[in-house]
């Protein structure tokens, strides 16, 4: 199972979201989840199982598949719920 955090350059904010997802994944004790980050233009539907983007990239991320849209990328509580939901959707919890 692969989670992918994305932003426009794949350098700064997606990297932060990725590290925060990794923290949540550890908290939840999810096994076999890899978390990566990239720029949104390099990502395709096969790049990951779940995609995480900020709300401002919602339109750009359409068509990738299971896209999780974050209202605020600095809200850890929102992210925790989003990761939990995604894990439940894919039968990991």
């Amino acid at each position: 199972m692969k989670f992918l955090a994305m932003c426009s350059t794949g350098l700064g904010s997606s990297f932060m979201v990725r590290m925060n997802i990794e923290t949540v994944v550890r908290e939840l004790g999810l096994a076999d989840v890899t978390v990566e980050h990239s720029d949104i233009s390099s990502a395709g539907p096969d790049s990951a199982d779940v995609f995480f983007v900020a709300k401002d990239l919602e339109d750009t991320a359409q068509g990738l598949g299971d896209v999780v849209v974050l209202n605020s990328i600095i809200d850890m509580d929102e992210l925790r719920e989003a990761v939990k939901d995604a894990a439940a959707r894919h039968g990991l919890l």
Partner: protein
């Protein structure tokens, strides 16, 4: 014996090896498994070589652009783009830049630990670019490598700690809390936008009450944006230069308009490769920095990249970008009228820093604040890069330069003092360090007094 030392020094002159060693140290400090440590070290080493390869691609596209611009307009044309210029700089000054980047993080953590400025600069990519600029300014103006690394790291640590502090008063208005800060080399322009908004704006008329059509999502696709904007610029300059000149001197007979489109595509491809390289290098280094800073600095406030504010005011993002770009066009118009080197608006910089300026300007001064604040940023990132160009040595002739306002301000300060003399740079760094500690002590005392007064006013129940 001498040759052993020579071989050893050769290793340290190879920036990819230095980067690999920094990654290795970070992975060991994180107590990663042996296989993860080996993998991460190799990835960082190869990532740097990817970056260097991208630099060559960008350079191949920019050199003919410079010649053609010179032929068409008789002056140098410069496209500010961080990735484009940093590739070239890291090829020439990579070892020193990587060490300034690394020790700059150490200085950042120490300053955050021992002063009231608890900002940890998590935007590794712009920090790496800043280190590259500091390295080139110091070394191109006569500093030895070791002096450049010593004073450059202190300067780097000071800038990365204090730049988020500049924007924090306005950030609190946007995020409604004090837990995160903005960490980007556009901070000086973004803070200026906040100030402009406060002085001339009206925060009751928010940009977010406007109905603005969406559909500019393509602006977030960096590769598309760079290829398109550079395509327009290349085509315009090619048309002025004329088919005769281009096909004879540059394109080797290829149809000149196709050649122009191909060069723009190559520029975008080079930036794409550089971004991929930077991403791989940082992926192995930043998590260690994050982990260590969280352990060593209680109440640390991470300073994060500009998109963290974009979701707070989507309309201001678009308005800020457009206003900043208009500022860049006005600035270019002034440069054309004055004569001399032309700074062509770099679309990525105007988007990233202009959008953030729009959000901050809106928070302090509503619509008027967003528009005028972001326009001020657009003017700053046109004129500041021009003023820094003379300090960059040969790199200043690359037809590209560092694009954001912090590069301009810190480049001017460091470049200006290095021209006066090496002692001036050392004096500047020492005075800045002293100023940070003194102002930290003052802020702490003021807060203590405020807390004491509050405690007196509210007797315990």
């Amino acid at each position: 014996m001498n040759s052993v030392l020579q071989n050893f020094l050769d290793v340290f002159r190879e920036p990819s090896v230095i980067v690999g060693l920094i990654a290795l140290l970070g992975l060991v400090l994180q107590r990663k498994s042996a296989s993860d440590t080996v993998k991460g070290t190799i990835k960082a080493f190869v990532g740097f070589l990817v970056l260097a390869a991208g630099a060559g691609v960008v350079s191949d596209a920019l050199t003919p652009f410079g010649d053609m611009f010179q032929h068409a307009f008789g002056v140098q044309g410069v496209v500010p783009n961080n990735e484009a210029i940093v590739g070239k700089v890291l090829t020439d000054y990579g070892s020193q830049a990587a060490l300034i980047f690394f020790f700059g993080m150490v200085v950042n953590v120490l300053l955050a630990r021992f002063t009231t400025f608890k900002f940890i600069y998590m935007s590794g990519h712009v920090a790496l670019y800043l280190a590259a600029m500091i390295a080139v300014i110091l070394i191109a103006n006569g500093f030895s490598s070791w002096q450049a690394i010593l004073w450059g790291s202190l300067a780097q640590g000071l800038i990365t700690t204090m730049s988020p502090a500049l924007v924090q008063p306005w950030m609190r208005k946007v995020t409604k809390n004090d837990n995160v800060a903005l960490g980007h080399t556009g901070n000086f322009g973004i803070a200026t936008s906040g100030l402009v908004g406060r002085l001339v704006g009206d925060s009751s008329k928010s940009t977010e009450d406007l109905k603005i059509p969406k559909g500019l999502g393509f602006l977030r696709d960096t590769t598309v944006v760079i290829a398109t904007s550079m395509g327009i610029i290349y085509l315009l300059v090619t048309l002025v230069a004329g088919p005769g000149y281009v096909e004879r001197e540059l394109s080797d007979g290829q149809w000149y308009l196709l050649w122009a489109v191909m060069q723009a595509g190559k520029f975008a491809a080079g930036v794409f490769i550089i971004l991929a390289g930077v991403r791989v290098v940082l992926a192995e280094i930043i998590p260690a920095f994050k982990g260590i800073s969280e352990k060593l600095v209680p109440n640390a406030r991470p300073a994060l990249d500009v998109p963290i504010v974009f979701t707070f005011a989507p309309n201001a993002v678009l308005i800020g970008f457009l206003a900043s770009f208009v500022g860049g066009l006005i600035g270019m118009g002034i440069l054309v009228a004055v004569g001399g080197t032309i700074i062509i608006p770099g679309i990525v910089a105007h988007f990233m820093t202009g959008a953030a300026s729009g959000v901050i300007g809106n928070a302090t001064g509503g619509r008027r604040g967003a528009i005028l604040g972001a326009m001020a940023n657009g003017l700053l990132i046109t004129f500041l890069p021009l003023l820094v160009l003379p300090f960059l040595g040969d790199v200043g002739l690359q037809n590209s330069t560092f694009s954001d306002a912090d590069f301009g301000v810190s480049g001017l300060l460091i470049g200006g003092s290095v021209r006066i003399g090496h002692a001036a740079v050392i004096g500047l760094v020492v005075i800045a360090l002293a100023a940070v500690f003194v102002s930290s002590a003052l802020v702490t005392r003021r807060r203590a007094v405020a807390a004491a007064t509050e405690a007196e006013a509210q007797p315990t129940h």
